[in-house]
């Protein structure tokens, strides 16, 4: 069980800066994110694309921005719980108790949801049967490649995840690589290797096809694939793997009893508190009249939410507004010499 002042959900730029704003006023935060790295959309969706509207930074990439934010919160020695998703929420007296999918339990006086448009999850096959066979024949990631040894495997997708795993698993198994169009979008090197493996009979390529059905009772026996003209092919297979990238889903937060407006959480603009006391929403996930989905707005929202978190974490203390330029307390928290 981990006790903290604030649990931040989401390690994107907004969540990272909220750590800093909380740290400056003396509050401790723990951060949970479903991705296995910090940065949120900045790292996952556009690491190399330039951003031009961060104040005082004329141009930087998502990756650089993330690195700078991580550097900025170094003095606070924050714990990150990556590759973990918050699931259950309960209230005990004035504290919130949050449990993750890995059964880690946090106790906090406030929760700041800085979850972007939700947590990143694998995109799945658009078939009902795929749900039934998930983790029993249908997979979207590989934890132990030995599990796939000497099997018949169909891999779907056109990017490097699909190509990498086709190449790797073709060493010990029969691979059929299925993609919705003729071109693959992987690196030229991967595409070259795949073509070579096809020539040597190690990989069978089926394009332009998409999944049409899955056959089998307790185990997958075969699948059918279909092209745009409706032509159908049957393939005997043990396992199917889908690599269609990630999509953002609100996930279990949607069940927490928060007011929702489509996929967004309405907040008040004084403190960015939701309809539940002690639960805040900042960044792309929150909504209010005039909301702009900009990183800079997320920074502002975090700064205000942090002040309200202080009242809940230290009900017997009075919050005192201080500037980083002149506050001895803040300098101490930052590990700087007070001049």
């Amino acid at each position: 069980m981990i006790t903290t002042d604030v649990l931040i959900i989401g390690a994107g730029p907004t969540g990272l800066f909220a750590v800093q704003q909380l740290g400056l006023i003396g509050l401790k935060a723990e951060v949970v994110d479903n991705l296995d790295k910090v940065g949120g959309q900045c790292s996952e969706l556009y690491p190399d694309k330039p951003i031009y509207d961060i104040p005082a930074i004329p141009e930087c990439t998502g990756e650089t921005l993330t690195k700078k934010l991580v550097k900025q919160i170094e003095p606070f020695n924050t714990n990150f719980h990556l590759g973990e998703r918050v699931e259950q929420l309960a209230k005990k007296e004035t504290k919130w108790i949050i449990t993750t999918n890995k059964k880690k339990v946090f106790i906090a006086s406030s929760i700041i949801i800085a979850g972007g448009v939700g947590s990143f999850e694998s995109r799945k096959f658009p078939l009902k049967e795929a749900e039934k066979f998930e983790n029993n024949g249908v997979f979207y990631s590989i934890k132990d490649k030995k599990y796939f040894d000497k099997k018949k495997i169909c891999i779907f997708g056109g990017g490097d995840s699909a190509l990498d795993w086709s190449i790797e698993l073709s060493k010990n198994s029969k691979i059929v690589l299925v993609h919705r169009r003729l071109e693959f979008r992987g690196t030229p090197r991967n595409i070259e290797i795949i073509k070579k493996l096809e020539k040597n009979g190690k990989i069978q390529i089926e394009t332009p096809y998409q999944i049409n059905s899955i056959e089998g009772d307790d185990k997958i026996k075969a699948i059918t694939i279909k092209d745009d003209e409706g032509k159908i092919k049957k393939i005997d297979t043990d396992y199917i793997l889908g690599f269609f990238g990630l999509i953002m889903k609100l996930g279990p937060i949607a069940e927490w009893g928060l007011n929702l407006d489509k996929k967004h959480i309405p907040v008040n603009t004084e403190s960015f508190q939701t309809n539940k006391e002690g639960i805040f929403a900042i960044g792309d996930i929150c909504t209010y009249p005039g909301k702009l989905k900009l990183i800079l707005s997320g920074f502002h929202e975090g700064a205000l939410a942090a002040r309200e978190c202080f009242k809940l974490a230290r009900p017997n203390e009075k919050y005192k507004f201080e500037y980083t330029t002149t506050s001895k307390n803040i300098h101490e928290r930052l590990g700087k010499k007070y001049i």
Partner: protein
């Protein structure tokens, strides 16, 4: 300005006027038309504004570039009439455009 008809997968139709230079995605979002999520806000990074363009219209549109085609690999049940609506920019020529939304965006 173009009149655009967005058809939900249930066949419910929404016809709205969308100003020039706005994207077809923005036209849907600003008019609260369900079925287009546009998670990334139009930066060709999420494939959640996927639409099927009416086949009479498909060839009249500006061709897809590579980034859009790559992103469509991630879309929910794409077909040969699939486009990302954030990449379709409204002009007078698009007056009467008809699109259908997939049952889900992912």
């Amino acid at each position: 300005m173009a009149k655009i008809t967005y058809i939900e997968h249930t066949n419910k139709e929404h016809t709205v006027e969308v100003p020039n230079n706005m994207s077809v995605m923005e036209g849907a979002v600003q008019n609260n038309i369900p079925g287009i999520d546009a998670d990334c806000g139009g930066s060709v990074a999420c494939a959640t504004c996927h639409v099927y363009v009416d086949k009479k219209w498909f060839n009249k549109l500006k061709k897809k570039d590579e980034s859009e085609e790559d992103m469509l690999d991630m879309a929910y049940q794409p077909n040969k009439f699939s486009r990302l609506s954030c990449q379709l920019i409204v002009s007078d020529e698009l007056d009467g455009l008809i699109l259908k939304m997939p049952p889900k965006q992912g």
